[in-house]
Assembly symmetry: C2
Homo-oligomer: 191 residues x 2
Amino acid sequence: MSIINTVSATRADPASLDLMFPQDLISSEVSAQLPSDLQIRPLASTDYKRGHLDVLSGLSIVNDLGEVAWVNQFHAMRATPCAYFSIVIVDKASDKIVGVGTVFIERKFLRGLGSVGHVEDIAVDKNYQGKKLGLRIIQALTHISESNGCYKTILNCNDANIPFYEKCGYVKKENEMAKYAPARVNDTPKL
Amino acid sequence: MSIINTVSATRADPASLDLMFPQDLISSEVSAQLPSDLQIRPLASTDYKRGHLDVLSGLSIVNDLGEVAWVNQFHAMRATPCAYFSIVIVDKASDKIVGVGTVFIERKFLRGLGSVGHVEDIAVDKNYQGKKLGLRIIQALTHISESNGCYKTILNCNDANIPFYEKCGYVKKENEMAKYAPARVNDTPKL
């Protein structure tokens, strides 16, 4: 029994993981509001194995290129100074990721050479919905953005999700316009 | 007369400038469609003096912190690998900037570790409007985004500008939501 507890504690302790950014950028207030069987922390370099892409696949096309490519992307993002902040919510018992989100920070020439936080790619495992995990992810990412001095934090969402983001303190501002790149000859088929 | 021509040619030649990224990422097709008295090129480290912020001030609050701070921001953005691509349109005769825009590239875990181009901070000097400079800026930025392999390029705009961006090949997708950071005690007053 004590062995099981030790293993579980090692798995859940962010101090033992290779994180994308320091744990202390995660709001302690948000952490305290999570159910006690869950933990919120920065993405770790070993999170491919904990199902990071499985959770993202609930949101959009993932097209998994394998662990080595995923780890390379993790390192490229971490090597970009003060830009990418990906977080996860982990179920402590199973050591599986059940919620994900990212905020990346854009430098500008406007607003006194200001910065803007862009919230992207929020997803929660469908078996863990109804626990306010989406709200906690948005709160944690907004805290990271504001702690980094961003004068605003923005995100894009569909009409149905506007009320949810309003509860998170966001207001509708403008319209998102998109252009998809033409398919290239050497592209792998779109999934 | 020959001296004046030489000076003018030096001013206009991107090869003599310290650019944010290589000139060859600017679409030659877009360059060819500009009026002959104008030039499109990457932002240069000396563009503070050419009125970069003056043009941006037509779009939003600039809060000019001076040339040294601007140049530091330029270098910080250029030092970020494959992230920031700011462009300008210059009036060759006056060597003044008359149009600006930026695309920055976000790495993702989704879509086969794909990238998305975010178009930001498009502005054209009001004395140069009606020359399709906004269209040329968007076309040039979209070309940069797609040349860098981004699977999509996105931007935010108000309702009135939707038809313009549709002419640029963009379609309305979702809604932009924003949260402005609370004022901090040590902040300079908002302009």
